[in-house]
Point group: C2
Chain length 144, copies 2
DNA sequence: TTTAAATTGATATCCGTTTTCACTTTTGGA
DNA sequence: TCCAAAAGTGAAAACGGATATCAATTTAAA
Protein backbone atom coordinates (compact mmCIF):
# COMPACT_ATOMS: atom_id res chain seq x y z
CA UNK A 1 0.00 0.00 0.00
CA UNK A 2 1.14 3.50 -0.72
CA UNK A 3 2.90 5.05 2.26
CA UNK A 4 0.65 8.14 2.27
CA UNK A 5 -2.51 6.10 2.65
CA UNK A 6 -0.69 3.99 5.19
CA UNK A 7 0.14 7.08 7.19
CA UNK A 8 -3.46 8.22 7.13
CA UNK A 9 -4.81 4.84 8.21
CA UNK A 10 -2.20 4.64 10.96
CA UNK A 11 -3.23 8.07 12.20
CA UNK A 12 -6.90 7.08 12.25
CA UNK A 13 -6.12 3.88 14.12
CA UNK A 14 -3.92 5.67 16.62
CA UNK A 15 -6.67 8.16 17.39
CA UNK A 16 -9.39 5.54 17.67
CA UNK A 17 -11.00 6.83 14.49
CA UNK A 18 -12.57 4.73 11.78
CA UNK A 19 -11.87 4.15 8.14
CA UNK A 20 -14.82 5.05 5.97
CA UNK A 21 -15.86 5.06 2.35
CA UNK A 22 -16.12 8.87 2.44
CA UNK A 23 -12.63 9.32 3.80
CA UNK A 24 -11.23 7.10 1.07
CA UNK A 25 -12.98 9.10 -1.61
CA UNK A 26 -11.83 12.41 -0.19
CA UNK A 27 -8.31 11.09 0.21
CA UNK A 28 -8.13 10.12 -3.46
CA UNK A 29 -9.68 13.33 -4.71
CA UNK A 30 -7.45 15.55 -2.62
CA UNK A 31 -4.25 13.66 -3.28
CA UNK A 32 -4.77 13.84 -7.02
CA UNK A 33 -5.54 17.58 -6.97
CA UNK A 34 -4.24 18.91 -3.71
CA UNK A 35 -2.71 22.15 -4.88
CA UNK A 36 -3.95 25.04 -2.82
CA UNK A 37 -7.62 24.07 -2.95
CA UNK A 38 -10.29 25.48 -0.69
CA UNK A 39 -12.81 23.25 1.04
CA UNK A 40 -15.41 24.55 -1.38
CA UNK A 41 -13.19 23.73 -4.39
CA UNK A 42 -12.69 20.16 -3.28
CA UNK A 43 -16.30 19.70 -2.23
CA UNK A 44 -17.57 20.78 -5.64
CA UNK A 45 -15.09 18.55 -7.41
CA UNK A 46 -16.01 15.50 -5.34
CA UNK A 47 -19.70 16.14 -5.63
CA UNK A 48 -19.59 15.55 -9.37
CA UNK A 49 -18.85 11.87 -8.88
CA UNK A 50 -20.17 11.42 -5.36
CA UNK A 51 -23.21 13.61 -4.82
CA UNK A 52 -23.90 12.17 -1.42
CA UNK A 53 -20.78 13.46 0.26
CA UNK A 54 -21.40 16.52 2.39
CA UNK A 55 -19.43 19.71 2.78
CA UNK A 56 -18.99 19.07 6.49
CA UNK A 57 -17.33 15.75 5.84
CA UNK A 58 -14.92 17.27 3.34
CA UNK A 59 -14.09 19.98 5.86
CA UNK A 60 -13.49 17.52 8.68
CA UNK A 61 -11.42 15.24 6.53
CA UNK A 62 -9.15 18.05 5.35
CA UNK A 63 -8.57 18.84 9.03
CA UNK A 64 -7.61 15.21 9.58
CA UNK A 65 -5.11 15.34 6.73
CA UNK A 66 -3.63 18.45 8.30
CA UNK A 67 -3.45 16.91 11.76
CA UNK A 68 -1.56 13.90 10.52
CA UNK A 69 0.89 15.96 8.50
CA UNK A 70 -0.20 14.95 5.01
CA UNK A 71 -1.57 18.41 4.29
CA UNK A 72 -0.98 21.98 5.34
CA UNK A 73 -3.24 24.99 5.54
CA UNK A 74 -2.45 28.03 3.40
CA UNK A 75 -3.79 31.54 3.88
CA UNK A 76 -3.34 33.74 0.85
CA UNK A 77 -5.35 36.65 2.12
CA UNK A 78 -8.53 36.14 0.13
CA UNK A 79 -10.41 35.15 3.25
CA UNK A 80 -10.55 31.43 2.70
CA UNK A 81 -8.28 28.66 3.85
CA UNK A 82 -6.60 26.58 1.21
CA UNK A 83 -5.13 23.14 1.68
CA UNK A 84 -2.07 21.67 0.09
CA UNK A 85 -0.95 18.05 -0.06
CA UNK A 86 2.59 18.24 1.31
CA UNK A 87 3.49 14.56 1.72
CA UNK A 88 6.66 13.93 -0.24
CA UNK A 89 7.17 17.61 -1.05
CA UNK A 90 9.96 19.82 0.15
CA UNK A 91 9.24 22.95 2.15
CA UNK A 92 8.51 25.88 -0.10
CA UNK A 93 6.96 29.33 -0.13
CA UNK A 94 4.60 30.95 -2.62
CA UNK A 95 4.13 33.54 -5.30
CA UNK A 96 0.49 34.54 -5.72
CA UNK A 97 -0.87 36.37 -8.75
CA UNK A 98 -3.26 39.04 -7.54
CA UNK A 99 -4.95 39.10 -10.92
CA UNK A 100 -5.69 35.46 -11.81
CA UNK A 101 -5.00 33.82 -8.47
CA UNK A 102 -2.36 31.46 -9.85
CA UNK A 103 0.02 30.15 -7.22
CA UNK A 104 3.65 29.29 -7.93
CA UNK A 105 6.13 27.82 -5.52
CA UNK A 106 9.69 28.72 -4.71
CA UNK A 107 12.35 27.69 -2.29
CA UNK A 108 15.49 29.56 -1.42
CA UNK A 109 17.84 28.23 1.17
CA UNK A 110 19.63 31.55 1.52
CA UNK A 111 16.40 33.16 2.66
CA UNK A 112 15.69 30.25 4.97
CA UNK A 113 19.12 30.68 6.57
CA UNK A 114 18.71 34.45 6.92
CA UNK A 115 15.37 33.91 8.59
CA UNK A 116 16.87 31.58 11.12
CA UNK A 117 19.55 34.13 11.88
CA UNK A 118 16.96 36.83 12.46
CA UNK A 119 14.93 34.61 14.77
CA UNK A 120 18.07 33.81 16.75
CA UNK A 121 18.96 37.48 17.02
CA UNK A 122 15.58 38.12 18.66
CA UNK A 123 15.90 35.14 21.01
CA UNK A 124 12.98 33.67 19.16
CA UNK A 125 12.37 29.94 18.78
CA UNK A 126 10.90 29.82 15.30
CA UNK A 127 8.32 27.09 14.75
CA UNK A 128 7.09 28.11 11.32
CA UNK A 129 7.09 30.95 8.89
CA UNK A 130 5.03 32.36 6.09
CA UNK A 131 6.58 34.02 3.09
CA UNK A 132 4.46 35.07 0.14
CA UNK A 133 5.19 37.28 -2.82
CA UNK A 134 2.14 38.99 -4.33
CA UNK A 135 2.09 40.51 -7.77
CA UNK A 136 1.18 39.97 -11.39
CA UNK A 137 2.28 36.76 -13.06
CA UNK A 138 3.86 36.65 -16.51
CA UNK A 139 0.75 35.34 -18.27
CA UNK A 140 -1.37 38.09 -16.75
CA UNK A 141 0.92 40.59 -18.40
CA UNK A 142 3.35 42.07 -15.99
CA UNK A 143 4.31 44.41 -18.84
CA UNK A 144 1.31 46.74 -18.98
CA UNK B 1 -0.16 71.13 10.72
CA UNK B 2 1.40 67.70 10.98
CA UNK B 3 1.98 66.16 7.57
CA UNK B 4 0.11 62.95 8.46
CA UNK B 5 -3.08 64.77 9.31
CA UNK B 6 -2.53 66.91 6.23
CA UNK B 7 -2.32 63.80 4.10
CA UNK B 8 -5.53 62.46 5.55
CA UNK B 9 -7.42 65.71 5.04
CA UNK B 10 -6.09 65.95 1.50
CA UNK B 11 -7.29 62.43 0.79
CA UNK B 12 -10.74 63.21 2.14
CA UNK B 13 -10.98 66.37 0.09
CA UNK B 14 -9.79 64.62 -3.05
CA UNK B 15 -12.45 61.94 -2.67
CA UNK B 16 -15.24 64.36 -1.90
CA UNK B 17 -15.40 63.12 1.67
CA UNK B 18 -15.95 65.19 4.74
CA UNK B 19 -13.94 65.98 7.82
CA UNK B 20 -15.78 65.01 10.97
CA UNK B 21 -15.32 65.05 14.71
CA UNK B 22 -15.34 61.23 14.79
CA UNK B 23 -12.62 60.94 12.17
CA UNK B 24 -10.43 63.34 14.13
CA UNK B 25 -10.87 61.34 17.31
CA UNK B 26 -10.14 58.04 15.60
CA UNK B 27 -7.14 59.55 13.84
CA UNK B 28 -5.62 60.66 17.14
CA UNK B 29 -6.36 57.41 18.94
CA UNK B 30 -4.98 55.26 16.18
CA UNK B 31 -1.90 57.32 15.52
CA UNK B 32 -0.93 57.26 19.18
CA UNK B 33 -1.39 53.49 19.47
CA UNK B 34 -1.37 52.13 15.98
CA UNK B 35 0.71 49.02 16.49
CA UNK B 36 -1.03 45.97 15.11
CA UNK B 37 -4.42 46.74 16.66
CA UNK B 38 -7.65 45.12 15.62
CA UNK B 39 -10.80 47.13 14.97
CA UNK B 40 -12.17 45.78 18.23
CA UNK B 41 -9.01 46.83 20.13
CA UNK B 42 -9.22 50.37 18.88
CA UNK B 43 -12.99 50.59 19.29
CA UNK B 44 -12.77 49.57 22.94
CA UNK B 45 -9.94 52.00 23.58
CA UNK B 46 -11.78 54.91 21.99
CA UNK B 47 -15.04 54.08 23.71
CA UNK B 48 -13.54 54.80 27.09
CA UNK B 49 -13.28 58.51 26.31
CA UNK B 50 -15.89 58.75 23.57
CA UNK B 51 -18.77 56.37 24.28
CA UNK B 52 -20.80 57.67 21.38
CA UNK B 53 -18.48 56.49 18.64
CA UNK B 54 -19.68 53.33 16.96
CA UNK B 55 -17.80 50.25 15.89
CA UNK B 56 -18.85 50.76 12.28
CA UNK B 57 -17.29 54.21 12.20
CA UNK B 58 -14.02 52.90 13.60
CA UNK B 59 -14.07 50.16 11.00
CA UNK B 60 -14.77 52.54 8.14
CA UNK B 61 -12.16 55.01 9.28
CA UNK B 62 -9.44 52.36 9.53
CA UNK B 63 -10.27 51.48 5.94
CA UNK B 64 -9.83 55.13 4.99
CA UNK B 65 -6.42 55.26 6.65
CA UNK B 66 -5.47 52.17 4.68
CA UNK B 67 -6.74 53.60 1.40
CA UNK B 68 -4.72 56.77 1.77
CA UNK B 69 -1.54 54.92 2.71
CA UNK B 70 -1.27 56.00 6.34
CA UNK B 71 -2.02 52.49 7.59
CA UNK B 72 -1.65 48.92 6.42
CA UNK B 73 -3.59 45.78 7.15
CA UNK B 74 -1.82 42.87 8.82
CA UNK B 75 -2.99 39.28 8.91
CA UNK B 76 -1.28 37.23 11.56
CA UNK B 77 -3.43 34.17 11.22
CA UNK B 78 -5.58 34.56 14.32
CA UNK B 79 -8.63 35.30 12.24
CA UNK B 80 -8.77 39.04 12.71
CA UNK B 81 -7.34 41.86 10.71
CA UNK B 82 -4.90 44.15 12.46
CA UNK B 83 -3.98 47.65 11.41
CA UNK B 84 -0.64 49.37 11.69
CA UNK B 85 0.20 53.03 11.35
CA UNK B 86 2.94 53.02 8.73
CA UNK B 87 3.36 56.72 7.96
CA UNK B 88 6.97 57.62 8.56
CA UNK B 89 8.01 54.03 9.15
CA UNK B 90 10.29 51.97 6.97
CA UNK B 91 9.05 48.77 5.41
CA UNK B 92 9.43 45.84 7.76
CA UNK B 93 8.27 42.30 8.37
CA UNK B 94 7.18 40.58 11.58
CA UNK B 95 7.96 38.01 14.22
CA UNK B 96 4.86 36.80 16.02
CA UNK B 97 4.92 34.94 19.32
CA UNK B 98 2.42 32.12 19.13
CA UNK B 99 2.20 32.00 22.92
CA UNK B 100 1.65 35.61 24.05
CA UNK B 101 0.85 37.23 20.73
CA UNK B 102 3.67 39.77 20.96
CA UNK B 103 4.72 41.19 17.60
CA UNK B 104 8.28 42.26 16.85
CA UNK B 105 9.50 43.86 13.67
CA UNK B 106 12.52 43.17 11.52
CA UNK B 107 13.95 44.31 8.27
CA UNK B 108 16.61 42.63 6.22
CA UNK B 109 17.68 44.06 2.94
CA UNK B 110 19.40 40.86 1.87
CA UNK B 111 16.09 39.03 2.08
CA UNK B 112 14.36 41.87 0.26
CA UNK B 113 16.90 41.63 -2.56
CA UNK B 114 16.62 37.84 -2.78
CA UNK B 115 12.87 38.15 -2.98
CA UNK B 116 13.12 40.54 -5.88
CA UNK B 117 15.44 38.16 -7.67
CA UNK B 118 12.98 35.30 -7.23
CA UNK B 119 10.09 37.37 -8.51
CA UNK B 120 12.14 38.34 -11.56
CA UNK B 121 13.07 34.72 -12.22
CA UNK B 122 9.36 33.87 -12.41
CA UNK B 123 8.52 36.82 -14.66
CA UNK B 124 6.50 38.14 -11.76
CA UNK B 125 5.88 41.83 -11.11
CA UNK B 126 5.89 41.90 -7.34
CA UNK B 127 3.59 44.45 -5.77
CA UNK B 128 3.85 43.39 -2.16
CA UNK B 129 4.98 40.59 0.04
CA UNK B 130 4.28 39.08 3.42
CA UNK B 131 6.96 37.56 5.55
CA UNK B 132 6.22 36.42 9.08
CA UNK B 133 8.20 34.30 11.49
CA UNK B 134 6.09 32.44 14.04
CA UNK B 135 7.47 30.97 17.23
CA UNK B 136 8.06 31.50 20.92
CA UNK B 137 9.53 34.80 22.03
CA UNK B 138 12.32 35.07 24.58
CA UNK B 139 10.10 36.24 27.44
CA UNK B 140 7.71 33.35 26.87
CA UNK B 141 10.63 31.04 27.48
CA UNK B 142 12.01 29.61 24.34
CA UNK B 143 14.18 27.51 26.64
CA UNK B 144 11.63 25.04 28.02
C1' DT C 1 -24.72 -11.17 15.22
C1' DT C 2 -24.59 -7.80 18.68
C1' DT C 3 -23.58 -3.49 20.35
C1' DA C 4 -20.93 0.55 21.71
C1' DA C 5 -18.62 4.09 19.59
C1' DA C 6 -17.62 6.84 15.70
C1' DT C 7 -19.32 9.04 11.35
C1' DT C 8 -22.26 11.29 8.37
C1' DG C 9 -24.77 15.18 6.20
C1' DA C 10 -28.31 18.58 6.69
C1' DT C 11 -28.72 22.31 9.21
C1' DA C 12 -27.79 25.65 12.77
C1' DT C 13 -24.49 28.48 14.99
C1' DC C 14 -20.48 31.17 15.42
C1' DC C 15 -17.86 35.37 14.82
C1' DG C 16 -15.37 38.91 12.52
C1' DT C 17 -16.54 41.90 8.74
C1' DT C 18 -19.47 44.65 5.99
C1' DT C 19 -23.84 46.76 4.70
C1' DT C 20 -28.24 48.98 5.58
C1' DC C 21 -31.01 52.82 6.71
C1' DA C 22 -33.22 56.52 9.27
C1' DC C 23 -31.41 60.30 11.22
C1' DT C 24 -27.58 63.87 11.81
C1' DT C 25 -23.76 66.62 10.34
C1' DT C 26 -20.95 68.94 7.12
C1' DT C 27 -20.19 72.21 3.57
C1' DG C 28 -20.62 75.41 -0.16
C1' DG C 29 -23.62 78.63 -2.28
C1' DA C 30 -27.51 81.94 -1.94
C1' DT D 1 -26.59 83.67 8.16
C1' DC D 2 -29.59 80.28 6.13
C1' DC D 3 -30.55 76.42 3.06
C1' DA D 4 -30.20 72.26 0.63
C1' DA D 5 -27.51 68.62 -1.27
C1' DA D 6 -24.38 65.30 -0.12
C1' DA D 7 -21.87 62.64 3.03
C1' DG D 8 -21.49 60.60 7.77
C1' DT D 9 -23.12 58.24 11.77
C1' DG D 10 -24.40 54.31 14.81
C1' DA D 11 -27.52 50.54 15.91
C1' DA D 12 -28.78 46.71 13.99
C1' DA D 13 -29.04 43.41 10.30
C1' DA D 14 -26.76 40.79 6.80
C1' DC D 15 -22.92 38.40 5.16
C1' DG D 16 -19.71 34.39 4.55
C1' DG D 17 -16.49 31.00 5.69
C1' DA D 18 -15.59 27.94 9.43
C1' DT D 19 -17.34 25.05 12.90
C1' DA D 20 -20.77 22.69 15.94
C1' DT D 21 -25.12 20.06 16.54
C1' DC D 22 -27.79 15.99 16.33
C1' DA D 23 -30.63 12.15 14.69
C1' DA D 24 -29.75 8.49 11.67
C1' DT D 25 -26.23 5.46 9.83
C1' DT D 26 -22.01 2.93 9.61
C1' DT D 27 -18.00 0.78 11.48
C1' DA D 28 -15.52 -2.73 13.92
C1' DA D 29 -14.51 -5.34 17.92
C1' DA D 30 -16.32 -8.90 20.78
MN1 LIG E 1 2.48 25.13 -2.26
MN1 LIG F 1 4.68 46.25 12.11
ZN1 LIG G 1 -1.82 35.78 -12.99
ZN1 LIG H 1 5.68 35.55 23.63
Amino acid sequence: MEPDRQKFLAYLAGQGLKSTRQRDIIFDAFRSDGSHVSTEDLYLKIRRDHPGIGYATVHRTLKLFTECGLAEERHFGDGQVRYEWVAGKEHHDHLVCVRCGAVSEFEDEDIEALQQRIARRYGFTMTSHRHELYGVCSSCGGED
